[in-house]
């Protein structure tokens, strides 16, 4: 009967949370991960990754701007979403969204970008014409003070903001993990590990994402890729990936060992309905393969050309794997019945409000915003304007 096997409670048959709810944690994960990469340079003084600092911040901002859109499209009454600001329910993890988002957007990301770019903004407000001039003047908040002392203060304050930004990034994405992890009704979701796994997989996707965007934009600008930078990023990607993989294996082993009432039903689901997304895409292609590739690159000194190809491949596979992980959590958690006696099917439509076309559109929209931001606030000190970024 319409994609149902076995028995499901009658109200469970249609899925509540669609691919848009898969996309939302993927996007905020990219934001958090990109920010962590930026903070590697700013707070932990990893000089090698400096070429990606501004790009990582702009990438984070592009994705953060798009982040609320999948949620708004999903809500039955998006016009009532301001209620989350006016009457947030303190026992609900989801109620945090409004404030955490706003805090991260304004008090962390926009603030840090503004502090880092302030000198450029002031200079651009003096050198440009027309609408751009007005825009830059607005962005400078009417202050044209770029004396060494003012810039020094900016530097110090920026450091503090980045420092606060790291736990803020963890909160921005970790609370999403908690949204799932705190639901005792759903044994696929309910786990104290969930926020931690979300954060580490976010870091993997964010670091891989910025690495790919850096390589793509540098190539498009016909500049030389800083291999020391990319090698360092790939190294951090590898280490964080190891932690992420270990956490997911821990969850899996723990589940298999304890074999509680939900185990048989979930085990069957992973071997049948989730086989391709979970075993093939997430684990084999999306985790094991890039891990092996990156590991080999760390041990064997490949020539630059080979390393670039491996990094691009690993980066793409990693991002695909992390998206699959979000899919398997959100969709997988709704495919089985809470009676543990049945399964349903997710019928993803093409052109509806929550369909695959909308999801695809929302996924590439940040790249257009990034292109606009790069034009407005060039991350590179050279006079040449950046070419459009298409990402991989």
């Amino acid at each position: 009967m319409n994609g149902v096997e076995g028995f499901m409670y009658p109200n469970e048959i249609g899925l509540q949370w669609s691919v848009l709810i898969v996309l939302y944690p993927f996007i905020t994960g990219l934001v958090a991960g990109a920010f962590i990469l930026a903070s590697l340079e700013r707070v932990f003084h990893v000089e090698a990754v400096k070429p990606t600092y501004r790009l990582a911040l702009l990438t984070a901002l592009s994705f953060l701007i798009v982040a609320p859109l999948p949620l708004q499209l999903h809500l039955g009454h998006p016009e009532r979403s301001p209620e989350m600001y006016f009457t947030p329910h303190s026992t609900s993890a989801m109620a945090m969204f409004g404030y955490v988002y706003l805090w991260y957007l304004m008090a962390v990301l926009v603030f840090e970008i503004w502090l880092d770019y302030r000198k450029d903004i002031v200079l651009l407000s003096q050198s440009s014409k027309g609408i751009l001039r007005i825009l830059y003047k607005l962005m400078s908040l009417g202050s044209s003070n770029i004396s060494p002392r003012a810039l020094h203060i900016d530097e110090k304050v920026g450091w503090i903001v980045t420092l606060i930004g790291i736990p803020s990034a963890f909160l921005l994405h970790g609370y999403v993990g908690f949204i799932f992890g705190s639901i005792k009704a759903n044994p696929w979701w309910s786990s104290p590990l969930m926020p931690v796994v979300f954060i580490f997989s976010a870091m993997v996707s964010g670091i891989a994402g910025v690495m790919l965007i850096y390589m793509a934009t540098t190539k498009l600008r016909r500049q030389k890729i800083d291999m020391r930078c990319v090698d360092t990023i790939a190294m951090y990607l590898f280490y964080i990936f190891i932690i992420d993989f270990s956490l997911e294996m821990l969850d899996l082993i723990h589940r298999i060992y304890e074999a509680d009432e939900s185990f048989r039903s979930l085990d069957f689901m992973v071997h049948t309905k989730l086989y391709i997304p979970h075993i093939v895409i997430q684990i084999v292609l999306g985790t094991a393969t890039p891990l092996v590739l990156l590991f080999i690159t760390l041990i064997v000194k490949f020539p630059e050309q080979i390393r670039k190809r491996i990094y691009v491949t690993s980066g793409c596979l990693a991002m695909m794997g992390i998206f699959a992980m979000r899919w398997n959590v959100v969709i997988g958690g709704q495919l089985f019945s809470k009676s543990f006696l049945g399964y349903t099917t997710y019928k993803m439509a093409l052109v509806t409000r929550e369909g695959s076309l909308v999801a695809l559109g929302l996924a590439i929209l940040p790249l257009f915003i990034l292109w606009a931001l790069i034009k407005l606030l060039p991350p590179w000190s050279s006079e040449k304007q950046a070419q459009p970024a298409t990402g991989d």
Partner: protein
């Protein structure tokens, strides 16, 4: 105060936040429903709203106000605890204005079969028959008066 001179732009940024916060508080004062928080973290008037829905089933006490003779007959038999609207359908409109709605005549073939068709799934002590074998197509009410279904001629309740 030199430090503050070079940090003027930071104060402007902070000023934006303060302004936004004040606007937020003002808007919130207007937008949040007045009864919110009356009993808990929800709109207190929701309780009144929900309770004000009209009922569609009158409830057997309303029926018995007028139809006491039927109620008396029913109370003597096995259908004593089967309420009127369980068979006759939702009739609050009829209770409110009896002339406006005439309850429909019921089809016993469908109605009685719903409960009394024999099935291995039903409790063993529950009276159940195979309708085809039991009456050979003769309508149930030929022998069983639905309000008191015992067959009087058989000399006692079944």
């Amino acid at each position: 105060m030199n430090a503050f001179k070079d940090a003027g732009h930071l104060f402007r940024f902070a000023g934006l936040f303060v302004l936004a916060f004040i606007i937020f508080l003002v808007v919130r004062g207007y937008v949040v429903p007045k009864s919110f928080g009356q009993y808990g973290h929800y709109r207190g008037n929701a309780i009144t709203d929900i309770a004000a829905h009209p009922a569609k089933f009158a409830g057997h006490e309303a029926c018995e106000t007028c139809h006491s003779d039927v109620a008396d007959a029913k109370n003597k038999g096995k259908h004593a605890h089967v309420n009127c609207e369980a068979c006759h359908g939702a009739l609050a409109k009829h209770a409110e204005d009896p002339a406006s709605v005439t309850p429909a005549k019921l089809d016993t073939a469908i109605l009685c079969a719903r409960c009394h068709t024999a099935s291995a799934a039903k409790p063993k002590g529950f009276p159940q028959v195979n309708p085809a074998d039991h009456s050979n197509g003769v309508p149930c009410e030929t022998c069983h008066q639905p309000h008191n279904p015992a067959i009087a001629d058989a000399g006692g309740a079944k």
